[in-house]
C-alpha cells in the first residue's frame, strides 16, 4: 500500500471518469504553451522560491490555517493595490489572533476584513466590473470571496483537497469564477490556494485539472501574480 499505487489507481479512475475533460485539458495546455511559451515552460528553481519571504513559514503554513500566518492578508491587499494601479499604497494593520486586516480610511471608521477591504479598493480604483457586471454575478463574486475567508482560510492541508475538488467541479464549465469575466473572486481565491498549490506535487495538481487550468490562467493574467512565485504545471 504505497502512495504510488494509490496514485495510479486514482489516475486510472480519472481517465475513466474524465477522459473528455482530460482531452480538453491537453488542448488547453497546448494552447497555453503556445501563448506563454517561456513562463510556463521555465520550471522555477527551489532557490527562487526560498528567496520569497512567503515561503519561509513553510512549516507553520503546512500545519495551521493560513490565517495564522502573519501578515498574509496585508501582503495580498498590497498586491491587489498594485494590480489595480492605485497610486498611493495603503498601510494595513491586523487585529486579533486571526490577524484580520484593518484599513484606516479618511472618510469614516476603519474597514475590517479581507473581503471588505478588497471590495473597497476595487471601488476606489473605479473598477466596478471586477465585482461583477450583473446582480447575479455580483452575488457570485461575493459568494466566492466569502468562501475564501470562511472555508479556505480555515482549511488544513487535508481539507484543502475537498475544497479543490469542489472548485474543480465548479470550474468544469467556467472560464472564471463568475463566468466569462475575470473578477476579484478569481484574485482572492488564487491568492488563497497559492500556498497549497506551491506545495503540491505535479501529479497531485493534475487531479484538479480544471483548477490547474484556471489557476495558470489567473497567474498569467497581467499584473495579478505580484508577490507570489509562479506555480509550474509542466513536467
Amino acid at each position: 500500500m504505497h502512495h504510488e499505487i494509490i496514485y495510479l489507481f486514482i489516475v486510472a479512475q480519472f481517465l475513466i471518469l474524465y477522459h473528455d475533460a482530460i482531452l480538453r485539458y491537453i488542448l488547453l495546455r497546448l494552447f497555453m504553451d503556445w501563448v506563454f511559451p517561456i513562463s510556463s515552460l521555465s520550471c522555477q528553481s527551489d532557490v527562487d522560491r526560498r528567496d520569497l519571504a512567503l515561503s519561509s513559514n513553510h512549516i507553520t503554513r503546512m500545519f495551521c490555517p493560513i490565517s495564522a500566518v502573519p501578515n498574509m492578508a496585508p501582503r495580498e491587499l498590497s498586491a491587489l493595490e498594485k494590480f489595480l494601479g492605485l497610486k498611493k499604497p495603503h498601510k494595513y494593520s491586523t487585529q486579533g489572533v486571526k490577524k484580520v486586516p484593518v484599513l484606516q480610511i479618511n472618510s469614516g471608521p476603519p474597514l475590517v476584513g479581507l473581503g471588505t477591504i478588497a471590495c473597497h479598493l476595487v471601488k476606489e480604483a473605479k473598477r466596478p466590473d471586477l465585482l461583477g457586471d450583473s446582480a447575479e454575478s455580483r452575488a457570485v463574486v461575493q459568494q466566492w470571496i466569502e468562501h475564501r475567508v470562511t472555508k479556505l482560510d480555515r482549511c488544513r492541508k487535508d481539507d484543502v483537497k475537498t475544497f479543490l475538488k469542489d472548485l474543480d467541479h465548479y470550474l468544469q464549465d467556467m472560464v472564471y469564477l463568475a463566468g466569462n469575466h475575470f473578477t476579484l473572486a478569481d484574485i482572492l481565491i488564487y491568492y488563497g490556494i497559492h500556498p497549497f498549490m506551491v506545495d503540491m506535487a505535479i501529479h497531485e495538481k493534475e487531479q484538479f485539472i480544471n483548477v490547474t487550468r484556471w489557476f495558470d490562467h489567473v497567474q498569467h493574467y497581467p499584473g495579478v501574480q505580484h508577490h507570489l512565485p509562479l506555480v509550474t504545471f509542466c513536467r
Binding site: M1, H2, H3, E4, I5, I6, L8, F9, V11, L15, I22, I26, I59, T60, F63, C64, P65, A68, P70, V97, K98, V100, G108, L111, V112, G113, L114, G115, T116, C119, H120, K123, S134, A135, E136, S137, R138, A139, V140, Q142, Q143, E146, H147, V149, T150, R154, R156, K157, T162, K165, D166, H169, Y170, Q172, M174, A178, G179, I202, H203, R235
Partner: protein
C-alpha cells in the same frame, strides 16, 4: 421583476431563516422548495449545502449571505462597504461562535454556557452599535446586514432574555428586528414553534464545533502561533483547589509484579509492537514506527494506573534467515541468536521498557500455530490447491516471490516483482509474470507444481466486516489504518496460501504437507501469542479474554492489512474466543533528510549507531517522537534535530526546569519557600491544568506527537511567568517582594515537578534526573496523570531539593555537520522503511542483505548518483505521464528503455554491483 428562481430551502437550518426573512422583506418573487437534509442541490459541492438559489442566469448560489445580498439588490438596495463588513464579520466571527453556542444549548443541553461562548461577538456588536449610535447596523435605514444578523441571532436570543445582559445597544437593535413581520414569519417556518429544539436535527449533523477547534491547534508541536487563552474564574479556582490536594500513594511503574495478568476491577491493556524481522539491524524508522511509540504509550498507560502488558519480540523464520545463515556460515538458529541479541541491545539502549521481549522460534510458537491451524482445518476454513511455483534449476531451489522478476502481465512494466508490480500496484502471482528471471542468476526458472493450503478469506469476509465495524467505531484506529483496511475489503478478499516449501519455519502438522512450513504472514502474528505464552503460562488470560482486555497494535502502515484483515481472519476462523485488536495505531513513513524515496533499502542511521553519536538516548527519543510520522510522512533531519535540541530542550524546557531549581537553591538555601497564591499565579495554574488536560486527552487517543506539544507549552508558560515576575530582582527588595519571589519560585519548581511526570513516557532518564534533582516524592509519578490530571503542590514549603544541574547540552553546528556527513555515506537517498513482519512477507526474503558500506564505496560517486537519482525520478514521471495520456506504444517503450538505462547507471554510481539487480525503491 419576474424571477422564477427556485430557491431550495431546508427546514430547521438557521441559514434558511436569513433567506426566508430577506425574501419577505424585499418582496422578491421566488419559487421556494423545501428539500431534505441530505439532498445535494448544488451540483459542484460534494456535501449537501442549503439553502441554495438558482438565479435566472449564472451558477447556483450556496451562501446564505450572498443570496440575501442578491435578493436585496434585485429589490433595489445596494450594499455599502460597511454593509459588506458586517456580512463578512457575520460569517467569519459570529457564525463559528454561534454554531458552538447552538451546539452547546441544543445538543449538549448546556444552555448556561451559551452566554459565555457568545460573549466576544456580542460585546463587539454592542460596542459598535453604541459608538455609531444609529438605529440599524449601517445607518438609519434597514440593510441586508440587519436582516442577516437578526436572523442569525433570532433563534438563540428570542428564547432567553438573559444572554444579552446589560448590552443595551444590542438589545434595542435586536428588539427592532424581532418585531418585524419578515423575521417572525421566517422564524415560524424554520423553527415551527419548537424554539431552539427545532434545529436539533440540523445541529446533530454538524461536526462538533469544539472538537474541531481542538484539532486545528494540535497538528504541529510548538510551531503553531501562540494565542492567549482566556482563563475563566472557575478554571482558576478549580486549579487552585487541585493544587492544594494531597499526593496519593499509588504503586510505581517500576515496581510492577511479573507476571502481569488481567485484573477484574482494572482497565487491562495489552500493547504489542510489530515484530521486527531478526535479519536486519533496526533503523530509526523501525524504532519510531513501532517499539518506541508502543513504549511511550505503555509507559503513559502505567502512569494512568491501567494494568498494562507490553510484549514484542523478533520474528525469526523465513528464507531471508536461511540466506543470511549461508552467507555468514552459521546455522539459521545461530543467526537468530546473534541478531536477537543485537535487537535486544538496541532496544535496551533506547530504553524500550518491554514487559517481555521474546522471539518466534520457540516451542510455544509451534504449539499455538499448529493449534490454530487444526482449528481452521476443523472449521473448514482451509482450501487445498495445487500451486505452480517457479523453480530455478541453476540455484536448485524454489524461488520466493521477490526472487523473481519479469514483465507485469497487467501493465507490461518490465521490472515487476513476483508478488507485486511497482508500476501498477497490482498483486501478481509469480507464475503469471512474462519472461520470468531468477534474480540471483538471471536464468529462466521452470514451473513446478506443488500442493498447498489456503486460508479461505472470502468465507470469513462477513464475519470480518461485522467485527471491523465494531472495532473501528469503538476503538482508536488511525485514519490510515481504517483507509487501508477499507481498500482491501473493497477489492474483495481472495484465498491466501499459508504454506511454503521451505525448511526454516513452523512445520505444518498435516501429514499430507509434511515437508512444508507455514508462510510467514500466517505464522508471524501468532508470535504475539507465543511470546506472551513464553512470558506466562496464563497467556490465555490475555489472548482469550476479549471482554476484559483491550488490545493495542502498534506498527507502520505497510503492516496494517496483516493486522486488520489477515490475522483477525485466522483468529476468527479458529473460533476460540481470541482477543482481537481494539486499537490499531499505524504510523506513516519517516524519511531521511527530505529524501522521499529509497533507492537502496537498509541504509541510514541504524539503531546501534545512534549511541555512537554521543547524543543521549533521551534526545534521540525526544526528536523521533517530535517528528513522529503521525497522520503524514515526516522527515528526519540532522539540522532540525540540532534546532529542536537547542531551542526546545535547552532553551525552553531545560532552561525553565533549571531556573526553577536554581532559584530554590540560590535564593532559599535549597528549601521550597512559602507560597501565597495571587490571581496571576492561579491563572498560571489554570493554564497549566488546561495543557495537562489536553496532554491527557491526546495521549488517551494515542496522539503521541501532538501531546508532546503541550509539555513544551507548559514550560513556555513557566518561562514567561518567571520572566514577568523577575524573582531575582524581588529577592533583593523588601519583605512583600521577597514573599512574591518565594511564591513564584515555589510555583515554578512545582511545575518542574509536574513536567518530570509528563516527560516520563517520552524521556524516562530525564524524568528521573529531574525528580532526583528536585528530590520529588516517589508518589508524584503515580498521582499527577490520573483522571483529568492533578497538578498538585507536590513540593510544599520547606521541602528540600537536591543538587541542581543543567539537563541538556547544546548541539553545535560542526558536530551536527560531521554527523550528517558521516551518515550520508555513499548513499544519496535513504528512507527508513520499518522492516517488520508484513514487510518481510511483502519483500519476501529479500535477495541479498544490503551491501555492507565498505564494499560499496569502491566505485561510488555520490555526486553523480545524486544527479542520476534525480534523472531517474524525472524520467519515471515522464513515463508515467505518457502512459496516463495513452501515448503511442513505441514512444513509451523508448522512454522506458531510457529509464532502465538510467537506473543501471545509478546502481553503478552508487557503487553497487548491478547483479543481482537492486531492490527497486518503493515510492511512497
Amino acid at each position: 421583476d419576474a424571477t422564477s428562481d427556485p430557491a431550495c430551502l431546508l427546514m430547521s437550518n438557521p441559514h434558511c431563516l436569513k433567506v426566508l426573512a430577506a425574501l419577505e422583506e424585499t418582496g422578491v418573487k421566488c419559487d421556494v422548495q423545501y428539500v431534505s437534509h441530505e439532498e445535494r442541490v448544488v451540483p459542484f459541492i460534494s456535501r449537501p449545502v442549503l439553502p441554495a438559489l438558482l438565479p435566472p442566469t449564472g451558477p447556483h448560489l450556496f451562501s446564505s449571505n450572498a443570496i440575501c445580498s442578491y435578493l436585496f439588490e434585485v429589490g433595489g438596495k445596494d450594499c455599502s462597504d460597511l454593509c459588506n463588513q458586517w456580512l463578512e464579520w457575520e460569517t467569519t466571527e459570529l457564525q463559528p461562535m454561534l454554531l458552538q453556542a447552538l451546539h452547546m444549548a441544543v445538543v449538549l443541553e448546556k444552555g448556561s454556557e451559551v452566554s459565555k461562548v457568545l460573549q466576544g461577538p456580542l460585546n463587539y456588536l454592542d460596542q459598535s452599535l453604541s459608538k455609531q449610535n444609529t438605529a440599524y447596523l449601517t445607518g438609519e435605514t434597514l440593510s441586508v446586514a440587519d436582516i442577516v444578523m437578526w436572523a442569525a441571532l433570532y433563534p438563540i436570543l428570542s428564547g432567553s432574555s438573559t444572554i444579552l445582559g446589560e448590552r443595551n445597544s444590542v438589545k434595542a437593535w435586536f428588539e427592532r428586528g424581532a418585531k418585524l413581520q419578515s423575521i417572525q414569519s421566517a422564524a415560524q417556518k424554520v423553527l415551527q414553534g419548537k424554539g431552539l429544539q427545532g434545529m436539533k436535527t440540523f445541529l446533530q449533523r454538524q461536526p462538533n464545533p469544539q472538537s474541531k477547534e481542538i484539532q486545528t491547534c494540535t497538528s504541529s508541536p510548538a510551531e503553531a502561533e501562540e494565542s492567549e487563552r482566556v482563563v475563566s474564574e472557575e478554571e482558576m479556582e478549580a486549579a487552585a483547589l487541585t493544587w492544594s490536594k494531597e499526593l496519593q500513594d499509588w504503586p510505581l511503574p517500576e515496581d510492577r509484579q511479573h507476571p502481569i495478568l488481567p485484573q477484574e476491577d482494572k482497565k487491562n491493556i495489552l500493547v504489542t509492537s510489530a515484530l521486527p524481522y531478526v535479519n536486519n539491524v533496526p533503523h530509526l524508522g523501525n524504532i519510531i514506527g513501532c517499539v518506541l511509540s508502543a513504549d511511550v504509550f505503555s509507559r503513559y498507560s502505567r502512569l494512568r494506573g491501567w494494568n498494562v502488558l507490553f510484549v514484542c519480540g523478533t520474528d525469526e523464520y523465513g528464507t531471508a534467515t536461511e540466506n543470511k545463515a549461508i552467507e555468514e556460515g552459521l546455522t539459521p538458529q545461530e543467526i537468530c541468536d546473534k541478531y536477537h541479541a543485537i535487537h535486544s541491545a538496541i532496544y535496551k539502549w533506547f530504553q524500550i521498557d518491554f514487559d517481555f521481549f521474546g522471539r518466534t522460534t520457540t516451542e510455544k510458537q509451534t504449539v499455538i500455530a499448529q493449534d490454530i491451524f487444526w482449528r481452521l482445518h476443523k472449521n473448514n476454513f482451509l482450501l487445498e490447491d495445487t500451486v505452480e511455483q517457479l523453480r530455478c534449476e541453476n540455484c536448485q531451489r524454489f524461488l520466493a516471490d521477490r526472487f523473481v522478476e519479469g514483465i507485469c502481465p497487467h501493465c507490461a512494466y518490465p521490472e515487476a516483482r513476483g508478488d507485486q508490480c511497482d508500476k501498477c500496484g497490482r498483486l501478481i502471482n509469480a507464475v503469471e509474470l512474462k519472461e520470468p528471471q531468477c534474480k540471483i542468476c538471471r536464468k529462466t526458472p521452470i514451473i513446478c507444481s506443488s500442493k498447498h493450503l489456503f486460508l479461505d478469506l472470502p468465507k470469513l469476509e462477513i464475519q470480518l466486516e461485522q467485527w471491523l465495524d465494531k472495532s473501528t467505531s469503538t476503538g482508536d484506529w488511525t485514519a490510515n489504518a481504517k483507509q487501508i483496511t477499507r481498500s482491501w475489503l473493497r477489492d474483495g478478499l481472495k484465498p491466501r496460501c499459508i504454506t511454503r516449501d521451505l525448511k526454516w519455519g513452523t512445520p505444518v502438522p498435516h501429514p499430507d504437507f509434511k515437508e512444508k512450513v507455514f508462510y510467514v504472514w500466517f505464522d508471524a502474528p501468532i508470535g504475539y501469542l507465543s511470546i506472551t505464552a513464553n512470558y506466562t503460562d496464563k497467556w490465555e488470560k490475555w489472548w482469550k479474554n476479549p471482554p476484559q482486555v483491550e488490545l493495542y497494535n502498534f506498527m507502520a502502515k505497510d503492516n496494517v492489512p496483516f493486522h486488520s484483515v489477515v490475522f483477525p481472519c485466522s483468529l476468527l476462523g479458529a473460533q476460540d474466543n481470541y482477543t482481537l485488536v481494539n486499537h490499531l495505531v499505524a504510523t506513516e513513513y519517516l524519511n531521511y533528510e527530505d529524501t522521499k524515496f529509497s533507492k537502496s533499502r537498509g541504509v541510514g542511521v541504524f539503531g546501534d549507531m545512534a549511541k555512537e553519536t554521543d547524543i543521549p538516548c533521551d534526545v534521540w527519543r525526544f526528536y523521533l517522537l517530535y517528528v513522529r510520522p503521525e497522520g503524514q510522512d515526516s522527515s528526519f533531519s540532522w539540522a532540525d534535530l540540532a534546532t529542536k535540541n537547542n531551542s526546545e530542550l535547552l532553551n525552553n524546557l531545560g532552561n525553565f526546569i533549571n531556573r526553577a531549581g536554581m532559584f530554590v537553591t540560590k535564593f532559599f538555601e535549597g528549601c521550597v519557600p512559602a507560597m501565597v497564591l495571587q490571581q496571576e499565579d492561579k491563572k498560571l495554574l489554570a493554564l497549566v491544568a488546561w495543557e495537562l488536560q489536553q496532554y491527557i486527552q491526546l495521549m488517551d487517543k494515542v496522539k503521541i506527537r501532538d501531546s508532546l506539544k503541550h509539555i513544551l507549552n507548559i514550560s513556555r508558560h513557566g518561562n514567561q511567568y518567571i520572566q514577568v515576575n523577575e524573582p531575582w530582582k524581588n529577592i533583593k527588595a523588601g519583605d512583600a517582594e521577597r514573599q512574591r519571589a518565594g511564591t513564584v519560585t515555589g510555583v515554578s519548581v512545582n511545575i518542574a515537578c509536574l513536567l518530570s511526570v509528563m516527560l516520563y513516557p517520552y524521556m524516562p532518564t530525564t524524568s528521573q534526573t529531574i525528580r532526583d534533582q528536585l528530590n520529588c516524592p516517589q508518589s508524584v509519578i503515580g498521582t499527577m496523570l490520573r483522571g483529568n490530571g492533578n497538578f498538585v503542590c507536590a513540593l510544599g514549603a520547606g521541602h528540600r531539593v537536591g543538587a541542581v544541574s543543567p539537563l541538556f547540552q547544546k548541539l553545535e553546528g560542526d558536530q551536527i555537520e560531521a554527523l550528517k556527513k558521516r551518515f550520508s555515506g555513499q548513499q544519496s537517498s535513504v528512507c527508513f522503511h520499518p522492516q517488520t513482519t508484513a514487510q518481510k512477507v511483502a519483500s519476501s526474503e529479500a535477495a541479498t542483505a544490503p551491501a555492507p558500506a565498505a564494499e560499496a564505496t569502491a566505485a561510488a560517486d555520490p555526486e553523480r548518483a545524486k544527479q542520476l537519482s534525480q534523472a531517474v525520478v524525472e524520467q519515471g514521471e515522464k513515463v508515467r505521464n505518457l502512459k496516463a495520456q495513452k501515448a503511442e506504444k513505441a514512444l513509451i517503450t523508448a522512454e522506458v528503455t531510457l529509464l532502465l538505462d538510467l537506473k543501471k547507471q545509478l546502481v553503478l554510481a552508487e557503487g553497487k554491483t548491478p547483479e543481482p539487480a537492486p531492490q527497486k525503491g518503493k515510492k511512497k
